[in-house]
């Protein structure tokens, strides 16, 4: 077999491909991206256009997912909602990964009292029931999608920090890190050239799973009315309005609910697929 420089990715792909659930998850995730990016071109309707003559219509060829109590097309609102959910998922996880990685790196690399301080801080943060903490904080601020993303991010970095720290603790004892020290490499060079690239695989997994969690949290907040504010469509707030009509307009609750289910499931399948592919370790 000819070995090339892109070997890592080739082997990764080869193993990943065998896991059908993970591939299916990945395909759905990609599909969601395309849907949310192309939302305005896929549907002829405006997500906010009220149509008093067509309220609460059941699914039909014109309105695939039916219409809501204001005559808005539910399919349109669900795919526009996908955009919000993905945005929240990615920005929140981005913030969490950034904070978690920095704290994990510093904590694991320098150890000693720095490590103690950071890890006790992590313990303290983990004591709070995250969702209620978010509820309490959001209740004090005016509801905005940015606050939601930032707060989900600020309460979700602890797992990443612990993961990165654990990786750093084992990597910093490896001979190639010792070799770099013996060569007189600076701490920054050792951290960014030798430790970080080798510590990121578990973070990728945790980030993928984190996106699912963040989407779920955003949906829950929106469902409770303190997340994304109507008329901006979000899966959570479509569900909220759906619950008032659930006895005679099931489509209003079913489709956004399914969207949440499928999305979260896909991210989880993808994340666990990546985890299984990376372990046992690549290239050994």
């Amino acid at each position: 077999m000819r070995l090339t420089s892109t070997y890592f990715y080739e082997v990764f792909w080869k193993r990943f491909r065998r896991n059908r659930f993970a591939v299916a998850g990945g395909v759905v995730v990609l599909l969601l991206f395309v849907l949310s990016l192309l939302a305005p071109y896929i549907t002829p309707f405006d997500p906010d256009a009220i149509d008093a003559y067509n309220v609460l219509l059941p699914p039909s060829s014109a309105h695939w997912f039916g219409t809501d109590e204001l005559g808005r097309d539910v399919f349109t609102r669900v795919i526009f909602g996908a955009k919000i959910s993905l945005k929240v998922g990615f920005v929140a996880v981005g913030i969490a990964v950034l904070i978690g990685t920095v704290i994990g790196l510093v904590s694991g690399f320098y150890g000693g009292w720095i490590d103690d301080v950071f890890m006790r801080f992590v313990d303290i943060m983990l004591c709070f029931p995250t969702f209620f903490l978010i509820l309490a904080v959001i209740a004090m601020l005016e509801p905005s999608i940015w606050y939601i993303m930032i707060i989900i991010g600020l309460t979700g970095w602890m797992g990443v920090a612990r993961l990165v720290r654990a990786e750093v603790l084992s990597i910093r004892e490896l001979d190639y890190v010792m070799a770099a020290r013996a060569l007189g490499a600076s701490d920054l060079r050792i951290i960014f050239r030798h430790i970080l690239p080798n510590a990121m695989s578990p973070v990728l997994v945790s980030a993928t799973l984190g996106v699912a969690g963040a989407i779920l949290t955003e949906s829950a907040l929106s469902f409770l009315g303190i997340g994304v504010q109507p008329p901006t469509p979000s899966w959570g707030n479509i569900l909220t309005s759906g619950k008032d009509y659930i006895e005679f307009a099931w489509w209003l609750s079913l489709f956004p609910g399914l969207a949440i289910l499928v999305t979260v499931l896909s991210y989880n399948l993808l994340g666990e697929g990546i985890r299984d592919t990376l372990d046992p370790r690549l290239g050994r």
Partner: protein, 326 residues
Amino acid sequence: MSHSLLETKALRKYFPAKSGAFGKSRVLKAVDGVDLRLDAGETLGLAGESGCGKSTVAKLIMGLIPPSDGAVHFRGTALSELTKEERFSFRKDVQMIFQDPFSALNPRMRVGEIIGEPLTIHGIASGTERRHRVLQLMAKVGLSEEQFSRYPHEFSGGQRQRIGIARALAVAPRLIIADEPVSALDLSIQAQIINLLQELKEEFSLSFLFIAHDLSVVRHVSDRIAIMYLGKIVEMGARDVVFSRLLHPYTEALLSAIPHTKPETEKKRIILRGDLPSPLAPPGGCPFHTRCPYVEPPLCTDVPPPLEEKEPGHLAACHFSHKLFR
């Protein structure tokens, strides 16, 4: 007065070891008073079984961990007295080769980057000049040009060890600490790597501290030999002297473990009983008395034998070496 290239003086490294949250803290005496001397152009073999503190000595000499007591002198200056700049330049003079060729190379860096990194760190070369130098080094250790942009996992253990050697050579060191450089390799590959190290030693007039648990390897490469047991040197001297007139029962036991090329010749095989005692609770008296076949209480069990010059240039730490080995 000219200084030795490297000298360790009463070098000690104690690690704190706690048993349980409320257990009393004890100390692990990994290295307990080691005096070594290494002259330019010389290879000193440091042998002993696993866990005797050989690798800790290597790390202390590299200045990767601070000693608990004693000092490492390089060209007459203690490492602890070096300024930041001098320390950085010391890193150019002393390099290390590692035991496990699989963990010694960063799996996310290409061979060219691994060997070129020392050049960048020390500002020796960059750009095409760096590439040129790296290719030269690769040729020196027997790697081919097209392997420049490959990743470590695409290589076998022996080839990886060559990469590690090229990385160590990149800064043109005076001294190389080789910590069990061949013990993870197949026998045939061991020979190749040892021969490579000896060629490089000649070509670049290097000095080696060669650490191994395999006495036959040490015997092959070393000018002088030091035998270590439980953090202490028990015998030291020129290779031929030590091997022909050994003065310590531990060395005798190690020697008897070397497989013989003529199996039909009857040979006394000394099998040591028991394991290496825990360095957390080293035995009193002579550290070897728990396993020594010639132990004679109470002297051996109570009085630690000093490392003495028993004959010119030949040191041993045994109360009865004059009686046992004549």
